[in-house]
């Protein structure tokens, strides 16, 4: 049984936000108006957090792309009263939209603020409707959503592998952000497979995780150097 995880090399990330756009297109995430964004109601399963250091002209910008951390010890799951969010056997923190009652306990309990509530019925410009991804459901107003590690891609990849009577290969399934990253800063795979790239990178000296001290055991690892370490 794989344990899916991600490694993001911050030295490679240029902050181009291609991952953000790819995620939105892949997962039918509606556009937000400036008004909604100002009210912090923007939905972005993958968001790049800019961190500015120093002052001009000695300014240094770093970017931290943040998908759902798919914690091994997820705080959001503990508070869901209806079992709409849970950790599956492969370590993915899943969200079942039809089960969600929209109480937003999980949204508030996520220390990374990476769960998003649908404040509005999603809408797209008419000409965009036919470009929506049929493999991803459209969430209704009043439910919480989040990054799924593009789980729908796993459903399809696994089916294909089984029909072809072979095991799932490492590159059969990667989320959209990983596929699109122009600098190949994001790695994805099975953390429990010692031969996988993610397993090896996640044990390297440059690794850190966000808010590690909380004990959430995130499965998104970051690689950096210098003062970022520790």
């Amino acid at each position: 049984m794989p344990r899916w995880g991600m490694v993001i090399d911050l030295d490679r990330c240029t902050g181009c936000q291609a991952c953000v756009v790819a995620c939105k297109a892949e997962n039918n995430i509606p556009f937000s108006s400036p008004k909604e964004a100002a009210r912090k109601r923007i939905i972005s399963w993958m968001s790049v957090l800019p961190m500015m250091e120093g002052e001009y002209p000695e300014l240094r910008a770093r970017f931290i792309p943040r998908p759902c951390m798919h914690c091994d010890n997820p705080p959001c799951v503990k508070v869901c009263p209806v079992g709409a969010t849970y950790k599956n056997r492969e370590g993915m923190v899943a969200q079942v939209y039809t089960q969600c009652i929209g109480c937003r306990y999980c949204t508030n309990n996520c220390p990374y603020t990476l769960k998003y509530f649908n404040w509005y019925t999603p809408e797209w410009p008419k000409e965009m409707e036919k470009y929506l991804n049929p493999d991803v459901s459209i969430r209704n107003k009043g439910v919480v959503e989040k990054c799924t590690f593009c789980h729908h891609r796993l459903q399809k990849a696994r089916e294909k592998a089984r029909v072809e009577n072979r095991p799932l290969k490492a590159d059969d399934y990667v989320p959209a952000c990983v596929q699109t990253c122009p600098t190949e800063a994001i790695y994805f795979g099975d953390l429990d497979d010692p031969k996988s790239v993610v397993a090896q990178l996640s044990k390297g000296p440059r690794v850190f995780r966000l808010l590690e001290e909380l004990g959430t055991e995130p499965k998104v690892f970051y690689l950096t150097e210098g003062e970022w370490h520790g």
């Binding site: 079942v96 939209y97 729908h152």
Partner: protein, 177 residues
């Protein structure tokens, strides 16, 4: 004087109400007893599955994709044309098909089964990997001489029970997308 007129009007309006109400109720009861088809799916041609099955046609002959894709597919006019270029019988429904063939217009078969919007269902997965027969979900459709107006009820409980029996994945996100 005025009062009695008002009284009469009141009495007669309540009688009318009872009369019409009773009549409507009777119609509804009769309709339910006689099995009136409430807005079900109506196919453009009353297709006879049975007669096709008796003539050694397999499901795959008209629903060509269920071994390869998520959806099973509906027969195109070309599929029908491969046998019905000339009328094979005298039925009225075949006559309709001949009209379609003459005009070259595709038959707009109505969709009977619809997967809920939040569910990923693949025919290929179930037929090739699960090795389940069509009738497990679709019943004796091959025995029907008229197209059903309603799909058989397939509930999540039914799916999950079968998954349990076949030791298939019963994780929510194995099917919910």
């Amino acid at each position: 004087m005025n009062r009695s007129i008002l009284g009469r009007i009141k009495v007669s309006s309540s009688r009318i109400f009872i009369f019409f109400g009773g009549a409507i109720l009777l119609i509804i009861v009769l309709a339910v007893i006689l099995g009136f088809d409430w807005g079900g799916v109506r196919q453009p041609i009353a297709f006879n599955h049975k007669i096709h099955a008796e003539n050694d046609l397999e499901c795959l002959d008209c629903h060509p994709y269920y071994k390869e894709h998520a959806s099973s597919g509906k027969p195109t006019l070309e599929t029908c044309l491969s046998c019905h270029e000339e009328p094979l019988g005298e039925s009225k429904e075949e006559g309709k098909l001949i009209e379609y063939i003459k005009s070259g217009e595709e038959i707009d078969w109505e969709r009977l089964y619809r997967v809920p919007e939040d569910v990923y269902f693949s025919h290929r997965m179930h037929v090739i990997i699960g090795k389940i027969e069509c009738n497990i979900c679709h019943g004796d459709i091959g025995e029907s001489s008229r197209p059903p107006s309603k799909p058989l009820k397939i509930t999540m409980n039914k799916c999950m029970k079968c998954h349990e029996e076949k030791e298939a994945d019963n994780d929510c996100i194995a099917c919910h997308k």
